[in-house]
Amino acid sequence: MNYWPLLGVAAVVAGFALRLNPMLVVVAAGFVSGFAAGLSLPDLLALIGSAFVNARAPMLVILTLPVIGLLEHAGLREHAQRWIAGLYFMSLSLLLICYMALRQILGAFGLTSIGGHAQTVRPLIAPMAEAAARKTQPALDDEQRERTRALAAATDNVGLFFGEDVFVAFGAVLLIQTFYSSNGIALEPWAIAVWAIPTAFAAFLIHAVRIVVFQYGLRASAAAADGTERTP
């Protein structure tokens, strides 16, 4: 067993820890692992090149950019913020928890393409979350604004990850089934997917509590600011 290619993993960890540019880190790690495994430069370039061309699918997010760009130029984010600010019952936690629940339920039916960072979080959810956070803490500072937006993105991830696994035709379920069947264990997809349900509920509960705690922190900071203004 040749353990030297593991140096590539070490390069990745060191590069990300030192906060070097991720593009450089990734390419450097590929070269480290490749040379450690004894590949020649032409072989390695061919391996990286063909893997790169075959991995075009994640870039398809750019197909949404013309629409999102046009709408942003026409004031979509401003409108979303004003709309949320005008809904008297809307709060940050209500908004994000409802969004997470919707993402999980739709994901459980296989509808994962509804939502996403480019499609919904940037143009809609993040500005809405910011407007909702301003209702709790009108003097939202830069750090709080940044954390609110990051929380909106995190909520999308949690909702997506822990909803889609309940769907029987989802790739992960089929991957598990294929892996077992090639090892002589026959399982139906639903028999695997059903065990994702407890985690789906646990993920919802844990993240919902964290959203409420975050909003509580905003309220506390608003109250503290009020207090300092009143006492000279």
């Binding site: 790690a29 075009r56 130029h73 004031g75």
Partner: protein, 324 residues
Amino acid sequence: MIKIAYVWWLAALILGAAAWFDLRARRWGNAVFWGILATVFAAGDSIIAANKAGDRLPVQVVGAAVVALALLAGFGGMRRKVLVDSDAAQREASALRLGHRLFAPALLIPLATTLLLLLAPALVYGDWRLLPASPTVPALALGCCIAAAVALYVTRSRPGQALQESSRLLDQLSWAVVLPMLLAALGNVFENTGVGAAVAQLVAMVVPTDSALACTVAYGLGMIAFTMIMGNAFAAFPVMTAGIGLPLLIRQHGADPAVIGALGMLTGYCGTLLTPMAANFNIVPAVLLELKNEYGVIRAQAVTAVLLAVTNIALMYFLAFRNV
């Protein structure tokens, strides 16, 4: 039929437009970056075909181009467009004028895509079918085109404006938008150089085999760690399950394979929430949302991920051995 090749050409068009606008604005680094990518997307299928036919030169050129992209991004060759908020007043006015009509095209992307996916088997005329056998990607592309048409109508813009706006967003996203592709390529290199096998062997060496609890914890932690390295639970699952899950948990201790599979994968997802290697979930949104801290999204979800990982490993232990 909408072939998948058309989708890549559409992407190449959007990338090419970004290169063109950057060229005119004399942002040379950005222009070269998007130009290289547009070429890779436009010529991708013929590059793959040539590689299959035994001609390795095109993929080697792409490999060299990938190095060029990394050097451009890594040594400051790309300029992030500074956001000028000069048209803020104009956006406010337009927002007031158009109101809820602005939501329609944004919601149309997911709705049209989903509808097309659900209706794909019905959209046939004789031998002709609108969408190919695996319809996800073409449906997304068609959904985006429909939404773009409606957005142009709602905002009364010229089609050229749409490409100008997408170029603005691409310059803002900069290299982060390519990182997921590059990471997928790195995962492939790791696989081909035996990194996965080496990790599995190392983990198997340190796990005490006679305790079911220790094996469960080792499997869960292994899934998290390996997912963090590869940026993808799908890559970690076969390696970890073949190394620990199958021989130790299932064969030796009699665990329920369905529970081990489902919860093992979901424990890996907790690792996905924690790693910059899962760039499309963790780094790209940080750039999209213009966060100052590129690890801001990971920071926002880290506590959730850790608590959920503990829950998952506990669930795995109690559910998998419920009949033993």
